[in-house]
């Protein structure tokens, strides 16, 4: 009952659920801000789902009634045009969210870039939890990036006028999201998305992206580059 939620006894009782203990992104995303009791409430209705590479988590135009937190892997967000062409509108990395509001028709499709795991929180349960533990939903999405943040990132990127600025900003954004450790000069950032997706996202053609990557490498901004990863020089910012 909501009355007992604030009682001191209720707050010390629950144990952190074992499955969440193992969660790789807990500390850097949602659940870090949840109290132990909230975590138990959330875990009761939460489901861990695996999404195979290339499969869709959400489909544009289809209803969606869950909030998803990406735990492992990566997703591309895309919109289809009438004639079947597509626009990459964003990428989702571990700790990021999609489906912040329930909808009768999703604005985009979320497709797995690799075999991925998500935590799925049905909104109707979140609403119920919110009654017992006020603010839990806000705190759930206070960290990590939502699709709205991603759209803003995209506007900023497209507003950059040179191809080099766009590509470098994108690589640093990925490094910040999924790079290991703070010093990007020595660590590899995985690039789970194909080059074509990066080009589409940046509003560049594949050839221009390749040329730009080569030029950034020549300048030293990129230390090393492979098909699936990049090592960036330390940012001068």
């Amino acid at each position: 009952m909501s009355a007992s939620a604030s009682s001191p006894v209720a707050c010390q009782a629950p144990q952190r659920p074992a499955s969440c203990d193992l969660c790789a992104v807990r500390e850097r995303s949602i659940c870090a801000d949840l109290g132990p009791r909230e975590l138990v409430e959330v875990e009761k209705t939460m489901a861990r789902r695996s999404v195979a590479k290339g499969r869709a988590l959400m489909q544009e135009g289809e209803p969606n009634d869950s909030l998803y937190v990406l735990v492992q892997g990566g997703f591309r967000l895309l919109k289809h045009l009438e004639d079947g062409r597509r626009q990459i509108t964003g990428f989702i990395f571990p700790g990021d969210f999609v489906g912040v509001r329930p909808t009768g028709a999703s604005a985009y499709t979320a497709e797995a870039l690799e075999d991925s795991f998500v935590c799925c929180f049905p909104h109707r349960f979140l609403e119920a939890i919110a009654e017992r533990c006020p603010g839990v939903k806000d705190r759930l999405i206070a960290r990590g990036q939502t699709e709205y943040h991603k759209a803003q990132d995209h506007i900023v990127l497209l507003g950059k006028k040179t191809a080099e600025e766009r590509v470098e900003t994108f690589l640093r954004m990925v490094a910040k999201s999924i790079g290991h450790g703070g010093d990007s000069a020595v660590t590899e950032t995985p690039l789970p998305m194909p080059r074509q997706d990066i080009a589409d996202y940046l509003g560049l053609r594949l050839e221009t992206l390749s040329r730009t990557l080569a030029s950034l490498k020549k300048q030293g901004t990129i230390r090393a580059l492979s098909r699936r990863s990049v090592v960036l020089a330390a940012s001068c910012e």
Binding site: K79, L81, E82, D83, R85, R86, Q87, T89, A151, H154, I155, V156, L157, L158, G159, K161, T162, A163, Q196, A199, D200, L202, G203, L204, R205, L206, E207, T208
Partner: protein, 446 residues
């Protein structure tokens, strides 16, 4: 064609590449209105871009386009700089929003410009607005100006749809229109284009040209079919020497009469559909596997300033002298003269000279005319609901005449054009168009 239908062939009807047509644009629309509309475009709204290149090496006497013969390439390069300036200007208003799904280079003669200059324009679009590999990039080509390696270079720049101005292949007709280009030349262009891996090649053909006969035109069509373009546009030549003085070079005595024009148009339809092309709208033909045919079969066919198109974008942005943009009910046309256009861009202003804000009623009429031309059917009920009584009566009585002549049939509040009457689609559209009642000299309907 039925005898009762012939009387409509001579009727003057607009081309309806926009509604209301550009004839109704005035100075009430300013650069500021246009820029404000650009601000409203959303992040992923599809954009259809048009780039106008108003230069030609030589004047074709049938031409109705905004063009000029330019002998000094330095002036063309100045124009390219202005184009790049305009692209940057409009991109600032877009602020990273909107995603181009297609770019069309028209003219004039776009390949009057060097490949380097075309690359600069495409590069500016990619840099300022964004460009992805899934965008269609089309260019109209004058075969006489293509040099060795030209086509391959254009294909490597990203051009993936080519359109050749063929017009007519009879040397006598070519002489009468001052556009002499041998079959061998066209054939070698086609083989270059195919060697470049281009799978969307279009031909423009004109009927109603001086000295055309059924015999000569059937030979032209046979040769066209032998070259196997993916699309063919068959336009009727409009002789308007009062508006276009260079057309006075054409001897009106040598022009086909209305009966012959109708026969030539019917022959093109018969030969092209007989060769496996699908008729698209009333003047385009496409192979069944072509994007335009697939769009038509899926009910996605649209009509914009370039004619029938598979491009889904509702927003069109035109760059260059006389180019027209359409954003959310607002038409804006750039300065027509190259000098005035360059001057406006140099001063850092959007070079909008005139335009029109479509009223709600005009939008309803535009949608009905669009459906009539693209799908050969229209919702007349919607038009009647927005029409004042006098217009409604005129509309109904005009449609009664088309019905009595067996050109349309009713289905509830909707009309459909009967099979075989598609060449009259524009004539039927005039019934829905209150402006068409006015005495304006338009292009011949067929």
């Amino acid at each position: 064609m039925k005898a009762a239908w012939r009387k409509y062939l001579g009727a003057r009807a607009p081309r309806y590449t926009s509604y209301p047509s550009a004839l109704h644009f005035d100075q009430s629309v300013t650069a500021r209105d246009f820029t404000e509309k650009l601000h409203e475009i959303q992040l992923y709204d599809p954009l259809s871009l048009y780039v106008h290149v108003p230069f030609c090496r030589q004047l074709c006497w049938y031409c109705g386009c905004n063009m000029r013969v330019e002998n000094d390439y330095a002036r063309a390069r100045d124009y390219v700089d202005a184009l790049i300036g305009e692209i940057a200007l409009q991109a600032r208003a877009l602020g990273g929003k909107g995603r181009p799904t297609s770019i069309h280079f028209g003219g004039g003669t776009p390949n009057y410009l060097s490949c380097d200059d075309l690359a600069d324009i495409l590069g500016a679009i990619e840099r300022e607005v964004g460009l992805t590999d899934c965008a269609d990039v089309a260019i109209e080509l004058d075969p006489r100006m293509l040099r060795d390696g030209h086509v391959g270079r254009l294909a490597s720049l990203g051009f993936n749809r080519f359109s050749l101005g063929v017009q007519d292949l009879d040397p006598l007709v070519q002489e009468a229109i001052n556009r002499i280009q041998s079959f061998d030349l066209i054939e070698s262009c086609v083989s270059d284009i195919r060697a470049g891996g281009v799978d969307d090649l279009s031909f423009d053909i004109l009927y109603g040209l001086p000295r055309q006969s059924e015999d000569s035109f059937s030979q032209t069509l046979d040769k066209v079919i032998a070259l196997s373009p993916d699309r063919v546009s068959v336009f009727g030549y409009a002789h308007l020497p009062d508006a276009l003085p260079h057309q006075r070079m054409i001897d009106p005595q040598t022009l086909p009469d209305e009966t012959l024009r109708a026969a030539l148009s019917a022959m093109a339809d018969e030969l092209l559909t007989g060769a496996g092309y699908l008729r698209i709208g009333f003047d385009h033909y496409a192979k069944p596997d072509n994007a335009l045919a697939r769009a038509a079969l899926a009910g996605r066919l649209k009509r914009n300033f370039q004619g029938f198109t598979d491009d889904a974008a509702a927003t069109q942005i035109g760059f260059g002298a006389s180019a027209i943009s359409f954003v959310d009910g607002l038409y804006a046309q750039n300065e027509k003269s190259v000098a005035a256009y360059k001057d406006r861009v140099r001063r850092g202003a959007a070079p909008v000279a005139r335009g029109l804000v479509r009223t709600r009623r005009e939008a309803v009429i535009a949608a009905a005319i669009h459906d009539l031309l693209c799908r050969l059917e229209a919702d007349v009920g919607a038009v009647l609901k927005t029409s004042p009584p006098a217009d409604a009566i005129r509309l109904c009585s005009a449609l009664e005449r088309f019905e009595a002549d067996g050109i349309i049939r009713w289905d509830g509040d909707r009309i459909a054009i009967v099979e075989g009457a598609h060449p009259l689609a524009r004539a039927v559209a005039t019934a829905l168009d209150p402006y068409a009642q006015r005495q304006v000299e338009y292009a011949a309907a067929v």
